[in-house]
């Protein structure tokens, strides 16, 4: 069992650490178009149904040089890093990108990217920002239908309803397995290596989705059949909240500081996995419904308290001892929600700490000290 688990995990980890190499290989070996995207609201299932690989861009690991002449310093690392890699050719294997409307920075990045990066395909899918009105429900479906037409045009092929339905079922398989992994971690935080979950998530966002779905299912099976029952432990249970988790290492350092991540509210986390798509409905309408009903991101509006209620419900459900807000510097949507979420938790006696990340997280030693202090306090 152990072997199969380790092997699968190695594959995910390898892709998570070298996503561009993987993207390149898909482009070269499978001869598939690769379409980049920046946000969990991107219509991935449609890209997939068009026979292309949806490829999540998570910023750069290199230094920012070329992007400096297009973006001011007060712009998040995701936007700057993504542009950097597009301009330097590190993302040269992409055929183009789909930009859903996320925040002001992404909206502007779309223009800068289109005018400078030189990819053949550029699609804007300006989804609604509010999700709680009949007009928005209709518009959500309208934009997805338009995305189908735009993708057809860009890739020169027809996307049938059957193809979308098939993609939907692949995505459901993937998401079901991810959700199973979340429940296993809840029951036994030590079921996988501490950084495993976030490597897996980062990997599945760029992988061939059929492959991702099968490997996830295999992983779930192996763990279900073989994992040792959870031991009683007084280790602290942590929820990570914020945007992207580009540095799964954070979970390892946290683990060594005496706490385990048992859930999250992250783009590269539960917000990606949450919300299965209804397979009995017409697929585009079903996708629209998922977008409206899934765990909401701060750049969208469901209600003025939805995020706080979600967060607190998850904290209760997963018996969380403390929340770590993982935020990218210059990320407005998350920074605006932080004081409210922090206070909401505080009212319920749930402690939290804020970890702001610019290009790189703080050095390991410093991070360890901060985590140890926080964990001790819980």
């Amino acid at each position: 069992m152990m072997n199969q688990y380790l092997e699968t995990l190695d594959i995910f980890r390898g892709i998570s650490e070298n996503p561009y190499e993987y993207g390149k290989s898909i482009k070269e070996v499978a001869g598939k178009p690769v379409i980049g995207y920046f946000c969990t609201y991107a219509p991935e299932e449609l890209i997939h149904a068009a026979g292309a690989l949806p490829f999540r861009i998570l910023g750069t690991t290199g230094a920012i040089e070329r992007a400096e002449s297009h973006l001011q310093s007060y712009c998040c690392a995701l936007v700057r890093g993504g542009l950097e890699d597009a301009l330097t050719g590190r993302l040269g294997f992409l055929d183009g990108a789909v930009f859903p409307h996320t925040c002001d920075s992404i909206q502007r990045l779309s223009d800068i990217w289109r005018l400078n990066a030189g990819f053949g395909i550029h699609i804007d899918a300006v989804l609604p920002v509010k999700l709680n009105a009949p007009s928005a429900h209709k518009y959500m479906a309208d934009v997805l239908h338009k995305a189908v037409r735009d993708l057809e045009h860009a890739l020169g092929k027809t996307i049938t309803e059957e193809a979308i339905a098939a993609s939907v079922s692949v995505y459901n398989r993937m998401r079901r397995s991810l959700l199973s992994l979340y429940s296993m971690i809840d029951r036994n935080p030590g079921v996988m290596a501490p950084d495993a979950m976030y490597h897996i998530l980062r990997a599945v966002m760029v992988m061939e989705r059929e492959d991702a779905a099968s490997r996830l299912e295999a992983l779930v099976r192996v763990l279900e059949e073989n994992a040792a029952p959870a031991e009683k432990s007084d280790r602290k249970r942590i929820l990570l909240a914020g945007g992207i988790c580009s540095h799964p290492d954070i979970c390892r350092i946290l683990h060594e500081s005496g706490a385990d991540v048992v859930s999250d509210d992250l783009c590269t986390g539960l917000r990606y996995a949450d919300g299965l798509i209804d397979e009995t409905e017409r697929p585009v309408e079903a996708l629209a419904k998922r977008n409206l009903g899934r765990m909401v991101c701060p750049a969208k509006h469901l209600s003025v308290t939805a995020r706080g209620e979600n967060l607190f419900a998850e904290v209760t459900r997963k018996r969380v001892d403390g929340v770590i807000f993982l935020q990218l510097k210059f990320c407005d949507p998350h920074a605006f929600d932080y004081p409210y979420l922090k206070d909401r938790l505080h009212r319920e006696n749930v402690a939290s700490m804020l970890l702001e990340i610019d290009q790189q997280p703080p050095p390991e030693g410093q991070l360890r000290t901060r985590f140890e202090t926080f964990v001790e306090m819980l």
Binding site: S69, H70, L71, Q72, Y74, C75, H101, C103, D104, S105, Q107, R108, L109, S110, D111, I112, R114, L115, N116, D124, V126, P128, V129, K130, A133, P134, S135, A136, K138, Y139, D142, V143, K146, P298, A299, H301, V304, T305, K329, F330, D332, P333, A335, F336, D337, Y338, P339, Y340, K342, D343, L354, E356
Partner: protein
């Protein structure tokens, strides 16, 4: 690039103060008194974003209040740093829009230049200017525990899509429904038509005021426009605004007849991009004037009237969806460059000054590209000033001074 020889001949006349300034102050004072005493007069108060469709509110007799106008007052009265710091203590990141930070602090502490804005009965947020207002209004809705209406105007990359047009149209209906519910009565559509016409008339007059700057020498600078914009933001759709801008326009025409140059010896004509640096408008104005440079126009104060061609005053509500969606900062860079080109030609500008405003990402990100386009396509040089509209901590005076001096030398 422009013929200034004639200009210099008659440039000696003292520009004096624009008379209408005191009238404007009076109107604004009354407006804030009305807003602050609304409850005593059983009137409702709604907070609304600066780019939001205020006309239906006026038609419903609701007093609109503009946190952004308040933000500008905070900036101009140099209270920004202190208020921003208070918001930071509450946990708001110093990287967030300083209007939002200052206003949130005022709401909690009743601080600021007028002791806080009058409390809202409800909120109307239109995201045609940014995503920040959405988050900011969510904060306000939680703080005041009042309903929030969001008018979602999808960003326009290239052309407005048919889908977006339908979406905004149906929201206009939702908006009116929301107002009827909040006010407990039906919309009077005749009154709505009237307000729509007044709004268009006000906007036309405002644009006419701005257009006088095309004359050489210009009777008005962008710095004046920043100030006189107040009523286009706060009282658009009312007779008061129309009357005021008539007066202001008359005054400008007088100045034109008398050949008054607002910048004596006007030699250079510049365009300003982005929001003003509210706490330094005088300093900047004098700085440019010392180089005989007049900031003849700007992309900010013309943003409201810029949508005039898209408004049909006889079908105001119907045309509102397209027009309000198409404001300057809700369109892509390739459409912004068209507007810049138009302005550069109309005002015969020699250079462009861009305020890279760290508060305002939707306005500022992309300026580097625009700068390059303006140079490549129009041969117009530009200067970028890194600052913030309200938070003085981001204004490095000596550095900016050096950059302005250097830029002026190249012209």
């Amino acid at each position: 690039m422009s013929d200034h020889s004639k200009v210099n001949a008659d440039a000696g006349k003292d520009p004096g103060k624009i008379r209408s300034v005191s009238r404007l102050k009076e109107i604004m004072t009354h407006y804030y008194i009305d807003a602050k005493t609304a409850r005593d007069n059983s009137k409702k108060v709604a907070w609304i974003t600066s780019g939001g469709p205020v006309e239906p509110l006026i038609a419903m007799d609701v007093i609109p209040v503009y946190p952004e106008n308040h933000g500008a007052m905070v900036g101009a009265s140099k209270m920004g740093v202190d208020l921003c710091r208070q918001a930071e203590v509450m946990g708001y990141s110093p990287d967030l829009c300083s209007y939002a930070r200052a206003d949130i602090a005022c709401a909690v502490t009743q601080g600021g230049p007028i002791g806080g804005l009058p409390e809202p009965d409800f909120l109307v947020c239109c995201n045609n200017i940014c995503g920040t207002v959405l988050k900011w209004y969510e904060v306000a809705a939680r703080h005041f525990k009042v309903p929030l209406f969001i008018l979602d105007t999808p960003f326009i990359h290239g052309e407005m899509t048919e889908e977006a047009r339908r979406y905004v149209m149906s929201q206009v209906e939702e908006y009116i429904g929301f107002l009827e519910k909040q006010c407990g009565r039906k919309m009077d559509y005749d009154r709505m038509d009237e307000v729509g016409r007044l709004s268009v008339e006000g906007l036309r007059l405002w644009q006419a005021v701005l257009d006088t700057a095309a004359h050489k020498p210009s009777p008005i600078t962008a710095f004046d426009a920043f100030f006189h914009l107040a009523l286009i933001v706060t009282l658009r759709g009312t007779q008061v605004a129309v009357d005021y801008y008539k007066e202001l326009l008359d005054e400008m025409h007088e100045r034109l007849e008398q050949g008054i140059a607002v910048v004596p010896g006007e030699k250079y004509r510049l365009l300003w991009d982005n929001l003003p640096v509210w706490y330094r408008t005088n300093w900047l104005s004098e700085k440019f004037a010392s180089h005989h440079a007049c900031l003849v126009a700007d992309t900010y104060t013309s943003a409201w009237s810029g949508i005039l061609p898209l408004i049909d005053e006889n079908r105001f509500l119907e045309s509102m969806s397209v027009s309000y969606s198409s404001v300057y900062i809700n369109i892509s860079h390739d459409r912004m460059i068209d507007k810049l080109r138009e302005m550069i030609e109309k005002y015969d500008a020699d250079g462009l000054v861009m305020h890279s405003n760290r508060s305002c990402k939707p306005y500022s990100l992309g300026q580097y590209d625009l700068q390059k386009m303006v140079m490549d396509q129009l041969g117009i040089p530009s200067l970028i000033i890194e600052a913030d509209m309200v938070d003085e901590r981001h204004f490095a005076e000596s550095q900016i001074e050096t950059r302005i001096d250097a830029f002026m030398e190249t012209l």
